[in-house]
Every structure is written in C-alpha cells, then in structure tokens.
Symmetry: C2
Subunit: 414 residues, 2 copies
C-alpha cells in the first residue's frame, strides 16, 4: 500500500492523557502484517473491573465480536484483560477463526492469571484471511513484563490500520469527592458507518460503577457519538466499543443506577470523551480534507432527523461537491428527498453555518453564490437544514469524498 | 467543467434504430447552459398515442415530474407531445418552477395544436436554479418545422448532461401479424439509484395498446431494468421513464390486457429494450471503467435478494476495490452483513464468474488469489453470491468507483 499522508484534519499533537488507576497497557510490533510498527495490544485490568460493550450490527460479525458477546455473558460483565491485533480482522474465517479467538484468550488468561472468559478481544484489518495466532502467543508473555499505566499512547498506536494518526481522549471529573479519570483510545478510518458501535473504541475509568450501569451510560453516549458518524456508509464486521470501570476510585458503594445524581458530571464527561474519539475517527476518514457536521432540525422524530442527516452524510454527490469546495446545495435537497423521510419541500430551509442558502422551497433572495463558495473553503463545514414538519433534531458527522479515498481503497491489499 | 473522456464501456457505435410510425423528433442547441450542443428536444406524437410513466420516488420531485403525474391523470393517459431540456433540472424552484412547466406546456401545445395536458415534460441538470423559459419558447416554433421520424439520434443527443455518449436501443417484433417497432432513448450518468424510474428514459412503439396496459408492462419491465441499476446510490429528483404507444400498427382492436397472449413476444422485446438502455446508463456511470453485475441467490425473498445486491453494488469499498482490480472479496461479506437482510454466514458462497472464491463461511481451499486477480482485469465483472437461506434471486448492475467520479463531481457546477 502506498504511503498515506497524515490527515490535514489531524489534531496538532497527541493529547495529554491521564493514567487510569487499575489499568496497564503494553504493545509490541509482531510483524504479523505491518513491518516495524506496533500491532498487538495487551491491557491488564485490576480485579473487579466492570465491563460494558456495544458491537457491530453487521450480520456477518467477526469471531472476536462473537467472543466478546459470549464472554461478557459468562463473566457477568467483568474483565481482567483485553487483547487487540491490527492487520487481520479475523472475520469470515469460519471454524479456524473461532479456534483462533479461543487460543488467544487462553494465552492471555495464562499470562494474566485469570479465566479466558475474563479476556476481551478485538481485531481489525483484512477480512477473510485466517489469523495465525503463533506470533500473538509468542508475544503476550513478553508484553506482560513491560505493562505500565502510562503507555496509553502505545495502546492508541497499536490498534491503527489505515489510520493516519493515533486517537485518544482524556478527561477528569469527580464522583463523591473522589478524582475520576476517563481515558479512551479509538481507531477507524474506512469501512465506517457504525451501527451500535464503531471500529474500535476503548474507554477506561477508575469509577466504581456496576457493569449494568456502565452499559446504560455506554449505550446512551454511543448513540450521539460513534453511532452518529459515517465515513463511507460501510458497516464493519468488527465494530467494537468497550468501556471498563476499574472501581479503583472506591466511592463508598458501587454505583448501580445510571440515574444516580452522583453520576451527572461523570456522564457528561464520558459523553464528551466518546464524542471526541468519534470525531477523531471522522477527521481521519480515508482521504478526508473537511470535517462536515450535518444537523437536521424540524423533523418528525429524532430517528427521522438522523436518517435524513445520514442520507446527506452518505451521499457521494454531496461529499464530492464539498471536496471540490462547490456550494452545490441542490444536492442536499436531493439527499433529503431520497431519504424517504417526511419533509416539506415548500418549507425546507438550508444554512451553511450562519449563511441562509435556501428557504421556503427555493434559493434565498439574499443568498450570494460567492458567500457559499467562500464558506466552502473552510476545513469545518456545518450544514444545517430545517425540514419543516416537526421539532426533532439530530447531528451526524462525516468527511468529504476525495481522490485519496479512491487511492487508499483501490489498492488496500496490494 | 473539465472535458470528460468517453466511457471505456461505451458501445462501439450508436445503434441502428428503427423509426416509429406516428413519432417525430426534433432538437435544437439553445445555449441555455451548454454551448454548441443540442439541449432541447421536442417529440410529436400522433393522435391517440397512449402514454405510461414511472417517476422518481424522491420526496422532493422536480416540477416537470409533478407536471407529468398530473397531466397523465388529466389526459386519461394520452399524449401528443414531449419536451425535454438538458442543463437545468427545474427542481427545488418553488412557484417559479411550477410557472415554468405550465408556460413550456402551453408553448408546446400551441405549436403542436393540442391541449397542454397532452404535453409531457422532463428536465435534467442542476438543481435549485430557476429555469428561464424564454429560449425554450423561442426555439419550439423553429423545431416544429424540422420534425422528422428519423431524428432518433438527435433525441438521444439532446437529453445528455454529463453522459459521455448518446443512448438508444431498438428492436422489432410482431403483434397479430403487424410489424411493431420498439425504440427507446435514455440519459443518465450520475445521481443514479433510480427508485421506480430513472433519469431519463423514453420508449416509443407503434403498437396499439391502451395506456393502462402499457403502464402495466412498463412497471413490470422497469423493475428488472432501470430499477435494478445504481451508479452512486443517489436518487435523482427528476427520474422519469415514459412509454408511448402510437397505435399506428392498427391491430384489429386496441389491446387492453397485459396478459393478452398476443403481447408475449412484444413484452419480451420491450423488456430487452428497457434492460439495454438501463445497462447503457451504468456503462456511462460517472468515471466507470467496469460494468459489474451482482447476482444474489439463495435469499429469503426477491426483495431481500435485491436489498443485499444493492448493498454490495452501493458499497464504496467494493466499488473502489474493483476499480483497483483487487479481488478483495472480504468486502462482499461486509456488504452482505451490513444489508441487515437474512443471510447464513456459515453457508455463504461467493463466485467471480465461474471461479469459486468462498464457500461454507470461509475462503475456498481451491481458490487462488492469482485467479481472482486475473478475473478482475476484465471490463465486465460478474459477482455471484449464495446467501444460503432460501430460493429467491435478484440481479443488480453497477459500475466501479474511480478517480474520475471524484473529478467529475467535485467541480460539476464550475
């Protein structure tokens, strides 16, 4: 694969991240697929860590996705370790794929001293190629010796595939007067239209929260973050977001009710980390040069607003127009109409940021094409539409569709 | 807009077309948008011509689409004229757009000596720009003087926008021993995922068939032709397929029952013309270098097979892999899974033409990557999948996604 330049939308530097008490990271370059870069991650979680997960709704889920679903059931939502490999998705690999996840979980359980059911697994890379676990089994005992709480960046690096930069987000808050860290890493660049989760996100906290409570918070914040992004409308077979709460903060009792008022600040900060990570994936969308937010207002329901926003965000004609800095708003009208959702043509309004482009079913008398063209030069484009049939609203993030997307994907396996 | 090279999938020459007794064509270069090329078509239909139509399901239909729907009701499915302009879609143009279609129909009715309700209209081009009817009204009286049954090619030329070649198909058959012509023209290159119709197709015949009977044949053949193609998943606001039967063949009685045994040969030929035109649109898909047919077998229902085939045909990752001649069949698995339709992973089989690639949920032991790579060099790619849950089958046609698609659409309006 040709060298891919770093996304122009990449953050200036890797963010300052806070360690999470109870969580240690280690990574290694096994050479399984990529040469000379980290491609295997091991995370050790302290005893009692609560785990929640959301996974791809693709009906051809990869073996590690099926493993996680089952392991979370078997362990009652607890975990002691996480293993992630990059370069091979272990998807559509039949019985060999099932054997590979079992074998990886056994090896990790051995080095961490726990049950295989307490090991979570995720894979990313090419679909359909059998995963050779030999290098993984060889590497795990070496990685375990170097585990450290401060290696968050290695974790973010080790899970990359076509990602042009490592993605992390971190924040602090308090629960019951105790200092709480929320730190997450993610990867994703192509095959991104997550449906319940995205490929891949891991969020860690030292809060003392039950897995059921954590699952509720994860599901809620996931809807407005990873589930509200799309790069290319292609839902991966491997999408996985896992949340881990080590309980090291030891607030008096484990919090089990997501509506507990002590969690108010935590939930807002957790949502912010999730949104930050999700947007970082869009900013690293294959070939992206523009971050586009699509906000649909005045819809019949939130779900309807979301479907219309996705119809716009996934339209190749909208995305190529923005790549070309062409304020071709007629394509937004087309994309609203093709969504099949209720919308009132004669009440439809469109804004580029603060610029009113169209209103009452036609171009605004005040709109000047030069203003639209100037707005399109920006690296962050806000498209706002009111479809005039109700009060519901939804925002989706996407990126433009450029030559670089074609270049990356026309020879991904070569 | 930069010059776009002729599609490598274009037919070697414009086909030999048969005149249709009762139908005359004329076109003119008005300079409305394009310079020095035909952009306005007028068709005169003899008295008693029966008309059937299928239109876009986009909920933001253009003014001419709404006009046709109403005119067909008012006229009881008869027509005397058709006017098509290229360069301006007259879509999302509010009351001005409604006035423009009324004014165009009035002008055409005057030159043809009929009622405005007997005029059908279609437009194609940019969305959201008010349509100036002055050049149309000026041109129509001039075109009418030069109308001729032999100007089918001018008709096909005049309706082009980003199309790189003019599209027509023609065939002959018999009904009741009378010679019947079926000749059609079409245009379409981008914003192509027709939903009930495509942008634009016109099929003419001298058969003596009632409009209701013609409508039934059109709807049935449309499902397996124009409604089975996609270039970019974007459903136009202007999609229109109209069928015209002049009745000039004068078989004893007008045929009113689509199940009439005398129509058997005619229906097969009509379907062949529709499929030919639909495939010509895919072969002129913006930037296309490969014609791809996707056949899904073993599905729960025909509709389910169709949804899965469309999921594959619209996947940017599938289409870019084929553009890169990369036999990346894992992406087919992803696209089956993201469709949300019932499929059995452990029974899934995939073929490239005659090459068995995957079977029973994993890569076939006999599959050689070199064979797949060699197959991908072809200009016509047949993807065949069996999803292993039933007996239903459907075929969809699409093209690959290339740099040229981006180039065409990033500066379409410039």
């Amino acid at each position: 694969m040709a060298d891919i330049p770093v996304s122009p939308l990449a953050p200036e530097a890797f963010p300052v991240v806070n360690n999470i008490p109870g969580v240690e990271f280690g990574a290694m370059a096994t050479g399984m697929r990529y040469k000379g870069r980290l491609d295997l991650l091991l995370v050790r979680l302290c005893q009692g860590t609560q785990v929640a997960g959301v996974f791809t709704q693709n009906s051809m889920p990869a073996a590690p996705v099926e493993w996680c679903r089952q392991a979370l059931k078997n362990s009652g939502g607890t975990g002691r370790g996480l293993v992630v490999n990059a370069g091979n998705a272990n998807a559509f690999t039949g019985k060999a794929g099932v054997a590979a996840v079992q074998s990886t979980a056994n090896a990790a359980a051995e080095v961490l001293g726990c049950s295989p059911d307490e090991i979570l697994l995720a894979s990313t890379g090419v679909i359909g190629v059998p995963l050779d676990v030999t290098p993984i089994k060889k590497a795990l005992p070496k990685i375990v010796d170097g585990l450290s709480a401060s290696l968050v960046r290695d974790a973010a690096e080790a899970i990359r595939t076509t990602d042009t930069y490592a993605k992390a987000a971190s924040t602090l808050c308090e629960i019951d007067g105790k200092a709480i860290t929320i730190t997450g890493v993610a990867k994703g660049s192509g095959m991104i239209e997550p449906n319940m989760a995205t490929m891949l996100g891991f969020v860690f906290t030292n809060a003392n929260i039950s897995s059921a409570c954590l699952q509720a918070i994860l599901a809620e914040t996931n809807a407005a973050s990873f589930n509200s992004i799309t790069v290319d409308s292609d839902t991966s077979t491997n999408d996985t977001v896992l949340a881990f709460a080590t309980g090291e903060a030891a607030n008096e009792n484990c919090i089990t009710d997501p509506a507990d008022p002590r969690l108010q600040g935590f939930k807002a900060k957790f949502a912010a980390v999730m949104e930050d990570l999700a947007k970082q994936i869009v900013c690293d969308g294959e070939g992206a040069t523009k971050l586009i937010s699509v906000t649909v207002k005045g819809a019949e329901s939130t779900e309807s607003a979301r479907i219309i926003a996705k119809s716009i965000a996934n339209s190749p004609l909208v995305k190529t127009a923005i790549a070309g800095e062409d304020p071709n708003w007629g394509r937004l009208v087309m994309a609203v109409g093709k969504s099949g959702e209720k919308a009132n043509q004669s009440a439809l309004s469109i804004w580029f940021g603060d610029i009113l482009v169209a209103t009452d079913g036609q171009v605004s008398s005040k709109y000047q094409e030069e203003d639209g063209a100037a707005y399109m030069k920006r690296s962050h484009i806000d498209l706002i539409l009111n479809v005039g049939v109700g009060d519901a609203c939804s925002t989706v993030w996407t990126c433009d569709l450029t030559h670089q997307y074609i270049s990356i994907n026309a020879d991904y396996r070569s």
